[in-house]
Subunit: 429 residues, 2 copies
């Protein structure tokens, strides 16, 4: 069957990236070329807009506007963190039918793939010709099947460049510096910090990813050894470090996050007049009447205090790299930007093919004798939904050290050319 | 008197910037041209190296190395936070005499100018012809006399770009976002976030600088009003916000920092085995046996909790922008880089002039009918030491709002061209 005549909907979901708008604009540009797509509607804030019928018609937006939006970080349509219930997805599908929607493009992670899959199941059940394509996006790089996710390369570029600069800062004013990196359950982004090393003694000297178990005593030994060797230590810590290590989790077992454990030692009573008056407000109280703390924002600070206290080192600092990792406009990787655009284009090309039903666009690396290049393919939605990918075990040595060369071969083309730092000749530092 | 024949010393001091090495390399390049300067020695870690006679001879470093170092963030010679005593400065001067040092260049802030001034006083007292030049550097932009400080433009570029990206992120996933910006006693860097605004509803919507008193209730009113108006609020907060406001401090009065006050409500007992065994270690205990918390790393998180609790808003996040502000290699402003190089060159040119004694290089804005340009001048060391500059009162309206246009005229040429964001036409969001 050729692609049916009708309308199309596109949405953006989950944590934004610096290039998610490239995929979005790529899809618009391509969709305009296909006469069977009558109009492409952009859903405001993903499923939220689809539930409330909040759409922007996209075909008549001027090209200069679309080009500018493509270069803009974060989701121009608005994004959403809500995972819809089956009833809500049913309602979305009913709305689609009323609007004569025949094509649905959803840019997001594995949850978005799942939503897309369920919508498609409703359509299949009713024999309604709806073509559903998931367009991959994450900064964590944790989607299955695809070689890597659009969004990751630019986030990795930010992280690597932050470490390049911070390594120089840490050389100039020596001490221990802990940087907390995004990626709750996948270590790709944290490991990317390794690409900052340009000279033998450069940091990061220690890297902790969530796939491996985190032991505080081992950590302190590592820091102590590094500080004694280099007179300083630059450290990359994933926000998701946990006791067991994601590799070792049993089916259904939850990681015990170090960030959560450390917060147990902290008690915060806000100044009296700002304390929540009762439970049920946005801030909850624990059984001791303290504010329930969550998240990893304070983990770096507490780890820094533990290093100070246990190793008696004076200058210990920490930064949590935060949202610039996913939105800094000057750290966009060209390769990442081009590939993000391409998966948007290829999603539309796939959707209008004869007999297409559903799928997610996956990136494959072409073997071109060491020269980097990609092609895309369609993989069933079920193959990317629900589960996520970890940092590959084969790139980690027995003593829990990441193989910089192996990972570098994979990640360097995605990050792009890096700024080069200088060192004196005939100097010992 | 022409410049004497002899050696020269150069050092870098205080918190590094992304362009402090440009001033350093500019000075080397110029010094090589002057036959009366026999060798230029780089002091390792500023006064620390001068006390221990740890120097790198610089004239025979290859040009390609120097060019690469110029582009490298942070202080290539190493920096130092130590403010030397008068006895130590005496010792440095004695070392200088032994080494036949006739020129001393010190790149740093107002403390470095003071050190330079005292060294020069010793020389003057003994009738020893030493020529001392302070080369300005700060990211806070708080030096007196000079129109602006090298280092500030690049830090402002990082802050502005972080807000450009974060404004898009905050539009995509609506909520309250608080970003804590460097600059303990001067609001220039925090105010630079205003340059991120490109469309009428863009953030930052609220900006708090240390010059003005910070009142938590007023802050909550502001956030509440903004959130009701825009459905979101992007907020720039200086790490140095305080109760009185720097403008209102009496002679000798210390600001009561909000960060310190908020930490009083937080109690942290580290896990037993990591608690400091006694006072006198790197981590001190307060009278309740809790770890003494300091700094502003946690201020953003606690402010976010107070907003959540008091205004009952669900999505409230905070980031502390951290060291990338002073070291991110992709956010270097071209103008800042060129000017930093130039003050290094001009310091050497000044030093070898007939009858030169001492001074600091100051940047002046040329009046060229609206086209930006600078010239430099020498100002006495005493005019820049000890005291610092605040954000100009005349750029703040009566209702404590920064005049974006007036400040923009000043700061935009220093930040450079910014990435442009896109918006749909005929859309209401």
């Amino acid at each position: 069957m050729p692609g049916p005549r009708g309308n199309a909907v596109i949405g953006q979901s989950g944590g934004p990236t610096a290039v998610i708008n490239r995929s979005f604009i790529g899809a618009i540009m391509e969709a305009r070329k296909h006469a069977e797509i009558l109009e492409l509607y952009g859903a405001r804030h993903g499923v939220q807009g689809m539930l409330k019928n909040e759409y922007v018609p996209l075909f008549d937006q001027p090209n200069f506007v679309l080009n500018q939006i493509a270069k803009t970080p974060a989701a121009a349509l608005g994004s959403v963190r809500h995972k819809p219930s089956k009833d809500e997805i049913r309602k979305i599908f009913d709305n689609f039918k009323k609007m004569d929607v025949r094509y649905f493009f959803y840019i997001g992670g594995n949850d978005s793939a799942e939503t897309a899959y369920i919508i498609n199941s409703f359509a299949a059940h009713e024999g309604y010709d709806l073509r559903v394509v998931h367009i991959p996006k994450t900064i964590d790089n944790d989607l299955l099947v695809t070689d890597h996710c659009p969004g990751f390369g630019s986030a990795a570029r930010f992280v690597t460049c932050a470490f390049i600069g911070d390594n120089e800062d840490n050389r100039a004013l020596k001490g221990v510096k802990i940087n907390v990196v995004m990626g709750r359950n996948a270590g790709y982004l944290t490991a990317s910090s390794l690409m900052a090393r340009q000279y033998p003694k450069d940091g990061p000297h220690l890297v902790y990813i969530p796939e491996l178990p985190f032991d505080l005593d081992k950590f302190l030994e590592d820091v102590d050894r590094t500080y004694k060797e280099h007179g300083r230590a630059l450290i990359a810590v994933s926000e998701g470090i946990n006791r067991q290590g994601i590799y070792n989790l049993k089916e259904g077992e939850k990681p015990e996050y170090i960030s959560q454990w450390l917060l147990e030692f902290m008690q915060l009573k806000l100044p009296e007049k700002y304390m929540p008056k009762s439970n049920g407000t946005a801030v909850e109280l624990d059984s001791h009447g303290n504010v329930s703390l969550s998240g990893s924002g304070m983990m770096g600070d507490i780890l820094a205090l533990i290093v100070k206290s246990s190793l008696n080192i004076k200058r210990v600092r920490s930064d949590t790299l935060g949202y610039p990792q996913r939105s800094f406009p000057l750290a966009i990787s060209e390769t990442d930007a081009e590939e993000a655009y391409r998966v948007g284009v290829d999603a539309v090309i796939a959707a209008v093919q004869d007999n297409f039903d559903e799928g997610s666009i996956a990136i494959k690396r072409k073997d071109m004798s060491g020269i980097y290049g990609i092609e895309t393919a369609v993989t069933p939605l079920q193959s990317v939904q629900k589960h996520t990918k970890n940092f590959p075990r084969e790139w980690i040595s027995e003593n829990a050290v990441i193989d910089e060369r192996k990972f570098g071969e994979y990640v360097k083309p995605l990050i792009g050319t890096l700024p080069v730092t200088g060192r004196f000749v005939r100097a010992t530092f």
